[in-house]
């Protein structure tokens, strides 16, 4: 067994063990901490895959930013975190997850299984031969990644769109989470309802006493007044 294999198994145990604890921990704060542990395992897997940039990005984005966001959310919604961890449909959810995993394992695993006419498993991926090491990564792979982001024949447009997505998400998150209580909402609704009632009253006043032809000519001055 090579060192890489041992490292892979250790990292996989960290990832999967952390993941299982995330979905089963009673205390939501503990679940958030196990989520960080699972992210650390994923960092190790990225390093094994020679994706150093993504290991660093995972470290900064997931462990540094997203888990802090999640911990903040857990702290801000205190008092509900010790509730019952699973809802009433958890056995069905477990069965569905296991079935999905079994299907994916059959499709992706190393054992060829023939069901009816079709063969599943032991897929022959292009450029992958069993027992042979994967080809080396080009030294300038990060340079190529950066160039593909600014080249409009590759991912330039998608890169700009993700910038727009980030901007929209930022503005949206600020708007959604702004300090606005139920009382404010009710007051706003009451104001709106009062305005609508006033408009309806004005429209009724204009339309009822006048004949049809005059009502249409009288509508145009009445509309801007109704907005106030």
């Amino acid at each position: 067994m090579t060192i890489s294999q041992i490292l892979f198994i250790v990292m996989s145990l960290v990832v999967l063990g952390g993941g299982v604890m995330v979905v089963t921990a009673r205390n939501l704060f503990h679940a958030a901490l196990f989520l960080i542990l699972s992210f650390f395992g994923v960092v190790g897997l990225y390093l094994l895959l020679d994706a150093g940039f993504f290991a660093a990005a995972q470290f900064l984005v997931y462990i540094g930013a997203i888990s802090i966001l999640i911990i903040f959310a857990v702290m801000l919604t205190r008092g509900v975190q010790l509730a019952q961890p699973a809802n009433s449909q958890w056995p069905a959810a477990l069965v569905i997850s296991v079935i999905v995993f079994v299907i994916m394992a059959i499709m992706l695993g190393p054992i060829a299984i023939t069901i009816g006419q079709r063969q599943f498993g032991d897929v022959s991926w292009p450029n992958v031969t069993a027992g042979q090491p994967a080809p080396a990564v080009a030294d300038d792979s990060l340079v190529r990644l950066g160039q593909s982001f600014v080249d409009f024949n590759q991912y330039g447009a998608a890169f700009l769109l993700t910038a727009v997505l980030i901007l929209v998400a930022m503005v949206g998150a600020i708007w959604v989470a702004r300090d606005r209580t139920l009382k404010d909402v009710m007051e706003e609704r009451a104001e709106l309802a009062a305005e609508e009632a006033q408009e309806a009253m004005l429209a009724g006043l204009v339309q009822q006493p006048l004949p049809l032809g005059e009502a249409q000519s009288a509508e145009s001055p009445a509309v801007p007044a109704a907005h106030h």
């Binding site: 990225y46 958890w90 991926w125």
Partner: protein
């Protein structure tokens, strides 16, 4: 770094992580825990993308670019989702998705 690790090891690990996240998203009684499940699923997707990049096309930037896009989407999703949960908690004092049924008839 990949001495003796076949591609399907990565695929099976990421499938298992995806299904753990799926169970979390389906079965948890707390909306923030559901978001954690979704994060696990996004991580599984990213492991898959980078594994395929490494084994099948290590000379193209495509796999790395898609993994980077998934990172961006995950960050945006976490920000929006947690902002929603905080807003919901402010208005209802609860983050139980079973109780958020005011749109039901």
């Amino acid at each position: 770094m990949l001495n003796g690790i076949p591609l399907y090891w990565f695929l099976l690990i990421s499938a298992a992580l995806f299904c753990i996240g799926l169970y979390g998203a389906l079965a948890r009684k707390n909306a923030i825990a559901i978001l954690m499940g979704v994060e696990l699923m996004l991580n599984a997707v990213n492991i898959n993308l980078l594994a395929f990049w490494r084994y099948i096309a290590p000379n193209s930037a495509g796999g790395l670019a898609f993994a980077a896009f998934i990172f961006v989407i995950a960050a945006a999703e976490a920000a929006i989702g947690l902002a929603l949960m905080i807003s919901v908690y402010r208005n209802t004092q609860s983050v139980d998705p079973d109780k958020l049924d005011s749109l039901k008839l």
